[in-house]
């Protein structure tokens, strides 16, 4: 393992302190917890709390701030935070208007966030939640824990965050969030696996010329391993999968997010975005917003994911374009 770190056991703590040191004008850490909250207050409005295991930086703390998340709860690397941590996050975020939890669909996350919600309700805080499950690599059937939540989560944060700032009620935000989630789908490829610091070796193996389609953001396996393809071919395969899942027609309105998985430089992400753009143009889609960058990473995994969102309401565009003050969204 080649990393710039100290004791792997202390990664979470040191990372959060370094993050808050650099960004104290926007965020603060709730002492003794993995909770990063915004310094901005928005009394009476609904607060958004997201989070999960760490290792996905800048998610989720990088999206805490005015117009996006009220707080992020950061668990150990690739491990869901515990209910009491999440409960701390809920308390730190609450502005009296109730709290919406944005949960990625993993067994651990769902259980821990739900338990935290119960704890908060017991203390009189109104809590509801939405579960993001945008990863179409996994079959959503009764034989799996369901689709995973991956890079599409960022889009949910952005759109629901802007709506929360606009003053929507907890119930309306939940409905909005669920509609966004229904219309958001992601699929990714990895060319190099991630190494969890405490484990010290890569989570899976890939040959020197191999790539894997459909991997998750914790090194969960994908649906096919094969020889490394060109950016253009990868874009075509991923768009084909997304097309099957969405079933779109020419002229449909979509948004697109190309997401780097951690170790893949922007150079490759831009090249990939160019191939995506060409293919989407060929498909005749009407692309209304675009974004490229490393937003939902998997530590030092190399690879990219492609997210499309079908724009069902014009209002979503305003939410997308709404200005925010966070560390990592501009």
């Amino acid at each position: 393992m080649k990393k710039i770190l100290n004791d792997p056991q202390n990664v979470l703590d040191e990372m959060l302190d370094g993050f808050v040191y650099a960004n104290g004008h926007l965020v603060e850490r709730v002492a003794g917890t993995g909770v990063i909250r915004r310094t901005y207050e928005d009394k009476g409005k609904v607060a958004l709390v997201s989070g999960g295991g760490s290792g996905h930086e800048p998610s989720h703390a990088g999206f805490v701030g005015q117009g996006m998340l009220s707080a992020a709860v950061c668990g150990e690397v690739f491990t869901s935070p515990t209910p009491d941590q999440i409960f701390e996050g809920i308390k730190a975020a609450d502005q009296g208007g109730g709290v919406l939890l944005i949960i990625k669909n993993y067994t651990g996350d769902v259980m821990n966030f739900e338990m935290a919600g119960e704890m908060a309700e017991a203390e009189g805080i109104t809590v509801d939640h939405i579960i993001v499950n945008d990863d179409i690599a996994v079959e959503d059937s009764s034989f799996t824990a369901g689709r995973r939540g991956v890079a599409g989560t960022i889009i949910v944060h952005k759109i629901v965050g802007a709506a929360a700032e606009a003053g929507l009620s907890l119930q309306s935000l939940k409905v909005l969030g669920e509609t966004v989630i229904e219309n958001t789908k992601t699929i990714g490829v990895s060319i190099l696996p991630a190494t969890v610091p405490a484990v010290g070796k890569p989570g899976f193996e890939l040959g020197d010329d191999e790539m894997e389609y459909g991997v998750g953001i914790h090194g969960e396996p994908g649906y096919r391993k094969e020889k490394l393809k060109s950016s253009k071919e990868i874009a075509e395969e991923l768009i084909l999968k997304l097309k099957e899942a969405f079933g779109w027609s020419k002229g449909d309105k979509y948004g697109v997010l190309v997401n780097g998985l951690g170790a893949t430089p922007l150079m490759e992400q831009y090249v990939f975005m160019n191939d995506v753009a060409n293919k989407l143009t060929e498909e005749g889609l009407n692309i209304q917003f675009k974004k490229v960058g490393s937003f939902m990473t998997s530590i030092d995994m190399a690879g990219v994911s492609l997210t499309l969102i079908k724009i069902v309401e014009e209002k979503w565009l305003d939410y997308w374009n709404h200005e925010v003050k966070t560390v990592d969204w501009m």
């Binding site: 295991g53 515990t82 034989f143």
Partner: protein, 196 residues
């Protein structure tokens, strides 16, 4: 019956077994999950151990409640809420009836089922808790051999819950890490003198 002493002894023994097998548990989890089960359990049980040393307890249900809260607040992942809920439900049942070991474990199992919504055969810790309860109900006793047998039966199951479910067929041939750690929990009950 559950006493402060044997409950404490049991949890000590559970802690020790998990610490000793921490990397083994994580390796099992690497094969079909995300490789953190050993780290998670070790972190949670280290907290239980700390609390056991710091406090004096007046009843076994107090010990169990403390352990449940410690596991919930430190383990993380899927195993934290599951083990935490199991011990919390056991603590409630032990408060009612410290005599009936089988009934207490059954309460724990029900907590896991409620929290995780799995059934048997899905390659989870349920696949050891459930047969343990059944054999205790039927035979009033439990041997380490039986525990091992239940654990090893998860090997040939296909995961349909938790992270391992993403692997589908490819989860076959691997032990379920949560079942293995639950095996340690039951062995520790024997070592602690709660079960024989």
């Amino acid at each position: 019956m559950f006493t402060v002493e044997n409950t404490t002894k049991w949890l000590h023994a559970f802690h020790e077994k998990v610490q000793a097998n921490q990397s083994y548990l994580s390796e099992l989890d690497s094969a079909i999950g995300d490789g953190d089960h050993g780290t998670n359990m070790a972190r949670g049980l280290a907290e239980v151990e700390r609390k056991l040393k710091e406090n004096l307890f007046e009843s076994p249900q107090e010990v169990l409640k403390m352990a449940a809260m410690a596991l919930i607040s430190k383990t993380g992942g899927a195993s934290g809420p599951l083990y935490g809920t199991a011990l919390l439900e056991m603590s409630k049942q032990v408060a009612n009836d410290p005599q009936n070991i089988g009934k207490s474990i059954e309460a724990g199992l029900n907590g896991i089922l409620k929290r995780g919504k799995a059934t048997t055969g899905e390659k989870t810790m349920v696949d050891i808790w459930k047969p343990v309860v059944e054999s205790l109900m039927a035979e009033q006793q439990l041997s380490k051999e039986r525990i091992q047998q239940f654990v090893s039966e998860t090997k040939e199951m296909k995961a349909t819950k938790g992270r391992a479910s993403y692997l589908g067929e490819r989860s076959l041939g691997h032990l379920d890490p949560g079942a293995v750690s639950s095996g340690y929990l039951f062995e520790a009950m024997i070592d602690g003198g709660i079960l024989s």
